[in-house]
């Protein structure tokens, strides 16, 4: 004889990831490491911005370089003789807390005080997955089009710091950079939005002071 049974599961994959992210943050806190998620569009300048910050910031910096194939970005960071871990996501479009936890094992957390976690270039999927970092910095550039913010509201809603990069070429690509700032402010009125150019140096000092003020909080 057979019988029918209802089995309650209530296993939320998002909650499971968030719990792992909380554990990650505890690991970072125990090691006195401040961690910054760097999210943004493909080609917006995430890697270049981190390279600039490595050179300009007076901190012991480490990087987790996440990408579909991470060796290219990881190789760029290794030039600066800092701890770097490449995380290949393969077919996956985002990092998750479990992957980042594994990367911690390959990082000398005790000799780092500032960690950048560069996510896969993607404004959609990373939104759902907390990694355990202390702040989320979202980097976009004018060349993606000045409707980028409107089209991807959630990533900006959850950002702690937003960088609009490559503003030196805004006119050339026909993008209204002030509209992009205003669009972010509609979604997230309190967030700091910095217009930057890694070519001219515009906004870099402001990005550094913003990150440092978060570190002091």
């Amino acid at each position: 004889m057979h019988k029918i049974a209802d089995v309650e599961i209530q296993h939320d994959i998002m909650v499971a990831n968030s719990k792992l992210a909380d554990k990650n943050q505890k690991i970072l806190d125990d090691a006195d490491v401040f961690s910054v998620d760097v999210l943004g569009a493909i080609g917006s300048g995430k890697t270049s911005l981190i390279e600039t910050l490595i050179q300009k910031m007076d901190h012991k910096i480490g990087v987790i370089a996440g990408d579909v194939i991470s060796k290219y970005d990881a190789g760029r960071f290794e030039k600066y003789d800092i701890p770097v871990v490449g995380l290949n996501t393969g077919k996956e479009c985002h990092l998750d807390a479990h992957l980042v936890k594994h990367a911690f094992g390959d990082l000398p957390l005790d000799s780092i005080d500032l960690l950048f976690v560069e996510n896969v270039g993607n404004l959609i999927c990373p939104v759902d997955f907390d990694l355990g970092s202390h702040i989320r910095m979202v980097v976009i550039s004018v060349s993606e089009g000045d409707d980028t913010v409107e089209k991807h509201p959630l990533i900006f809603k959850n950002a702690d710091l937003v960088v609009i990069n490559k503003v030196d070429i805004a006119d050339a690509v026909g993008a209204d950079q002030d509209k992009m700032v205003a669009d972010v402010k509609i979604l997230n009125p309190e967030v700091k939005v910095i217009k930057s150019s890694l070519k001219t140096g515009q906004g870099i000092d402001e990005i550094i002071s913003s990150i440092e003020s978060f570190m002091k909080q």
Binding site: M1, H2, K3, I4, A5, D6, V7, E8, I9, Q10, H11, D12, I13, M14, V15, K91, E92, C93, H94, N122, I124, C125, V127, D128, E150, P153, L154, K157, I186, L187, P189, E190
Partner: protein, 128 residues
């Protein structure tokens, strides 16, 4: 965009629970997906249908229930449904339907929850 890995995780969760409960057949699965997750329910359903081939889940009815968005307003203390009318996620996450302010927090709508399953098992088996 990450429906495949999520579907895979769901299938594993369901099969694991079914096995622990000595299921001989899985009749029904209910999955809750928040309207603000970056998951497309139709794509998810398609991938689940593919992934269940050759598993105990084959033939099971898969119910995907969309969870509406709820918000808390930090200005007027409104708690409840977000205004999703004629919006593509935009109004819901920025504007309180009560006071119109934008200082709101999302409290529901980001779930990806394997809620429950209905299984068939041998009579006399003890519940796990």
């Amino acid at each position: 965009m990450h429906e495949l890995s999520m579907a895979d995780a769901m299938v594993k969760t369901v099969l694991d629970v079914a096995e622990k409960n000595d299921a001989t057949e899985i009749l029904e699965v209910t999955i809750e997906i928040g309207k603000l997750t970056m998951l497309n329910p139709e794509q998810l359903k398609f991938l689940l249908d593919v992934l269940v081939e050759d598993t105990l889940l084959k033939g099971a009815e898969i119910n995907i229930v969309e969870v509406p968005v709820k918000i808390n307003c930090n200005e007027c203390e409104y708690t409840g449904a977000a205004n999703m009318d004629d919006s593509d996620h935009y109004l819901a996450i920025v504007e309180c339907p009560e006071c119109g302010q934008r200082n709101v927090e999302i409290t529901e709508g980001r779930e990806c929850n394997v809620k429950n399953i209905k299984i068939e098992k041998e009579e006399g088996d003890e519940d796990a």
